[in-house]
Amino acid sequence: MTQEERYLFDLHGYLVLRGVLSSDIHRRLNETIDYLETLNDNQTAALGAERKYRASDNVYAQTGVPSEGGLGDYDCQVLCYGGPFEELIDLPQTLQYIEEMIGEPARLDAASFMSRNSGGAFRFHHGYAELLPYSEYAFRDGAFKCVSVKIGYALTDVDVEDGCFAVIPGSHKSNFTNPLVGQIPDPTHPLVQPLPCKAGDAIIFSEDLSHGAVENHRSKVRRTLFYSYAPAFHCTWHGLAMTAEGFEQRATPRRLELIQGPAPFAHASEADVR
């Protein structure tokens, strides 16, 4: 991280990294999703990429309306499928940020794909999240010590009108409950920062930051991959870090360590915890 990136991440709680996905990996990721979307739900589930559709009463999401014949808003596990999704586990362009932001041996605790249709949006959550201890932003002794850092990889161009990711910059340090929690982000609100992206861009953010997605007013489907990292003493999210058959054999050592987790209690000897 550059000094300016450190300053801005501490100041705002997020960074936008432009063009971190090469055109090759970006193309292969989209082709894989295109292929999976030609299959029915049972077929994708059998391949490990079960689609979980957003229910209309979901507390986080305002569900969008698919085009005729299109799929509804859904999430799916990606590492259980494997393929090019495995390459993002230890993508050097982003992993270096994760390592510095977490500041101790880390693991990947979740990876998922999100597809959002016209009308879809995601309500603001978090901010003042030190009370949610698994998402705390921290900087001490001259170093970041965050406990949950996520990367959103844009697989499609997403402008404000397309329902882009939105944050409240600085909310990772708020001392008060967030009055915008549970609301669809209003891009005109003075506290709200929509973050339009080009396909291949990435947004790295502390889970402590209040974040969501503005409403998609266009017909284009928004495709995003989310990869989440945490200190090794954290567990994984509901199987979202489960991998496909043969992963252990084909993974690089670093990739394997990020999935299996390094020794969870760093700096401890057997004598340290009594």
Binding site: D57, V59, Y60, E104, R123, H125, H126, Y128, A129, E130, L131, L132, P133, Y134, R140, D141, K145, V147, N175, T177, N178, P179, V181, G182, Q183, P231, A232, F233, H234, C235, W237, H238, G261, A263, P264, F265, A266, H267, A268, E270, A271, D272, V273, R274
Partner: protein, 278 residues
């Protein structure tokens, strides 16, 4: 109109504010970093636990690991597998009420357990504690409105009497909030002015944040036995060699307190995030 909070909308946390911990105890724990809990075990339980430990030390059952060369003498890791008192003591209602208050409502779990069988002359070094402690999983956290979100806290139960001059657990009160590293790395424990001995009668315990600078004074007695249970937030993984066995999970399944402690790690409890939006 009351301002809505994250919990009002998303139900991400359960059991907050439901413990019966007194204001005095909260204040003491926040200020000193520990609480002494008298008479956690009765004489029968103490005797039974001592017998069990003597027996299994001779023949180590599966799922329990003997560490014969620990700084204290020897340790038996994952001692809850020993059944009876060693198992029951992980879920003492008095202790769990504090755990619920100090960690994160109902979102807590047992991370590890062990028995410590010390031999004469065995003490321990002073742990770092405070801001300088590199163990992130040990962090002490309490916010201005009195809400605790501690990471690992430990309940240490004496199975033999300890006295001021013989093998007492000791700590530097308030060191969980120290901003600077302690300057006692190579100092004899008896020469550390702020270190306080916390003598305990057999059956009594001390509950402390792992972020507190603490140690054991060397013991003189031949028999010096402790049970130690580490608790953490629901998402903290098990301490190495502390995975509960299927036998243990089966025999505790009908016990709400024990089975809750032995749940697999999780971020959000089952059934959360179901609230209606505003």
């Amino acid at each position: 109109m009351k301002q809505a909070t994250e919990e009002d909308v998303f139900d991400l946390q359960i059991g907050l504010g439901e413990s019966e911990t007194s204001v005095e105890d909260k204040h003491f724990f926040d200020t000193a970093g520990y609480l002494v809990l008298e008479d956690l075990l009765n004489p029968d339980q103490i005797s039974q636990a001592q017998d069990t430990l003597s027996r299994i030390k001779a023949t180590i059952p599966k799922n329990i690991t003997l560490l014969p060369d620990s700084p204290y003498g020897c340790e038996l890791v994952n001692i809850i597998e020993a059944e009876s008192t060693a198992e029951d003591a992980m879920a003492l209602p008095r202790v769990l009420d504090y755990v619920q208050e100090f960690i994160w409502g109902r979102q807590y779990r047992l991370v590890g357990s062990r028995a410590i069988l010390r031999t004469p002359g065995k003490g321990s070094r002073l742990s770092q504690g405070g801001d300088a402690d590199p163990r992130r999983y040990a962090r002490y956290r309490c916010f201005g409105d009195g809400q605790f979100r501690c990471l690992m806290i430990t309940c240490l139960i004496a199975l033999t009497d300890t006295t001021d001059g013989d093998g007492a657990f000791c700590a530097i009160p308030a060191s969980h909030k120290a901003s600077l590293p302690h300057p006692y790395e190579n100092t004899d424990l008896n020469a550390i002015a702020p270190l306080q001995n916390i003598p305990l009668r057999a059956g009594s315990g001390v509950l402390f944040t792992e972020n507190l600078s603490h140690a054991f004074q060397p013991t003189i007695r031949e028999k010096d036995v402790w049970l130690s249970y580490q608790y953490g937030p629901s998402y903290m993984v098990n301490w190495p060699r502390c995975e509960p066995s299927t036998d243990l999970l089966a025999r505790t399944a009908a016990d709400p307190a024990k089975s809750h402690l032995l749940l697999e790690p999780y971020y959000h409890p089952i059934g959360s995030q179901k609230k209606q939006t505003m």
